[in-house]
């Protein structure tokens, strides 16, 4: 998770073609994964856990189905 600048390119390989909607979703995934990385390295408490769970839910929704 080191260089956040790599995420868009890495995630783009998950998609077949990069139309605007997919690129839009990739942008959101990039932000969510970056946020998750920060939260995972911060103090853990109940609130943090709930936020992490919500972010994981969002990432699951936005990731394309594996085929």
């Amino acid at each position: 998770m080191g260089d956040k600048n790599k995420f868009p390119a890495e995630l783009s390989h998950l998609f077949g073609s990069q139309d605007s909607e997919q690129a839009f979703i990739t942008d959101y995934l990039t932000v969510l994964i970056d946020t998750l990385t920060v939260l995972n390295s911060s103090v853990h408490n109940d609130q943090n856990q709930a936020i992490i769970q919500s972010i994981e839910n969002a990432i699951r929704v936005l990731l394309p189905d594996e085929e």
Binding site: Y28, T30, A50
Partner: protein, 344 residues
């Protein structure tokens, strides 16, 4: 930080879009220069900020550019009024060492909303939609290099602000104005037709777009009447409407661009039970709830009850209802002064 495109948000903007007011656009457009003197002199200028790499853009008004040494008062809008506070409010804050930074939320008429796949009932209820918006705002705070932020949530923005206050280390104090929390909120809405539309909007998926269409129809037909009725519980709110009519006309334009899914998301977060708000949620957070007196006794009683459960102090403003935050800058200044010890 990536800043681009500056544009004003005044009557000139409204006029620019009157020819095609219902056409949504992906990404806010700069507004053409106007000869309206009030618009030209309005210092509340918006910019588009990209919080990260990629194409996501957020509309930000910073009052005023070049005042970066002032402490930021970050305001997130409610669905019924996606506009910054008056120039008078911003000036009062500036004179007291605060810089108003207003973010118009994603999908509230200026920029594209969250991806539709996040705006299903399931993904609203499991927190995925709201946490995604919070992540974008947190990134925007970093992109703007805001420090020791005072966060001011208005109305329906508070569900987002609860999460943001936990997520962003840059937020030193949170003020949740006119919060709904988890309460039986239906009885608090007036007039009855507005209450019925809201209830319909969040109760069933097949009906939510009908409710949204109804709101937009009313807004298009007579925007001033719409806001006048919505604010009918509070004479102070109505006075703010009268003094800032151009802002409400602009607000009506933005509201008409909001997609039904975004209405559904925002109202569902505010009016349904938010499982994120566990008992004593605010125990270790520097936060207060701000409520005005010009609402129903039932609403105030239920807010007090929920505040006790969540362990958050309530500050009672001297006037106002839904617009209490914009009506009472002095109360906000008092809160910040009183809480300065808790602020980072």
């Amino acid at each position: 930080m990536k800043l681009k495109k500056r544009f004003s948000i005044g009557l000139g903007d409204l006029k620019t879009n009157q020819a095609d007011p219902e056409t949504p656009f992906r990404g806010a457009k700069p507004v053409a220069p106007t000869s309206e003197p009030n618009v030209a002199s309005d210092p509340r200028v918006f910019e588009l900020v990209r919080p990260s790499l990629g194409g996501i853009e957020v509309e930000v008004m910073s009052y005023v550019e070049g005042e970066s040494d002032l402490r930021p008062l970050l305001i997130l809008n409610s669905i019924e009024f996606p506009m910054p506070p008056s120039v008078s409010f911003c000036e009062t804050m500036k004179q007291n060492g605060l810089r108003v930074v207003f973010i118009r939320r994603l999908g509230f008429g200026g920029t594209p909303g969250l991806p539709h796949v996040l705006l299903s009932r399931r993904n609203i209820d499991n927190g995925a939609a709201c946490i995604t918006e919070a992540s974008i705002i947190a990134k925007t705070i970093k992109a703007l290099d805001l420090k020791s932020v005072v966060l001011l949530g208005v109305g329906s923005a508070n569900s987002l602000c609860y999460r943001l206050s936990c997520m962003s280390s840059e937020i030193a104090l949170s003020i949740f104005s006119n919060p709904v929390f988890n309460q039986d909120s239906w009885v608090g809405f007036r007039p009855a037709w507005f209450r019925a539309v809201l209830r319909q909007t969040v109760m069933t998926k097949c009906a939510f777009w009908i409710g949204a269409k109804g709101l937009k129809f009313h807004l298009q037909k007579d925007p001033v009447s719409f806001f006048h009725q919505m604010l009918s519980k509070s004479l102070s709110d109505q006075q703010y409407l009268a003094e800032n009519a151009k802002d409400f006309l602009a607000a009506s334009k933005y509201m008409r661009r909001v997609e039904p899914e975004t209405f559904f998301y925002d109202l569902s977060m505010s009016l349904r039970i938010d499982g994120f708000l566990k008992d004593r949620f605010f125990e270790n957070l520097p936060a207060v709830a701000l409520v005005g007196p010009e609402t129903t006794a039932h609403w105030i009683k239920r807010t007090k009850s929920e505040a006790e459960r969540l362990d958050i102090p309530i500050v009672h403003a001297p006037r106002g209802g839904m617009l209490v935050a914009y009506l009472c800058p002095d109360t906000i200044l008092e809160i910040i002064a009183a809480r300065s010890v808790a602020c980072k």
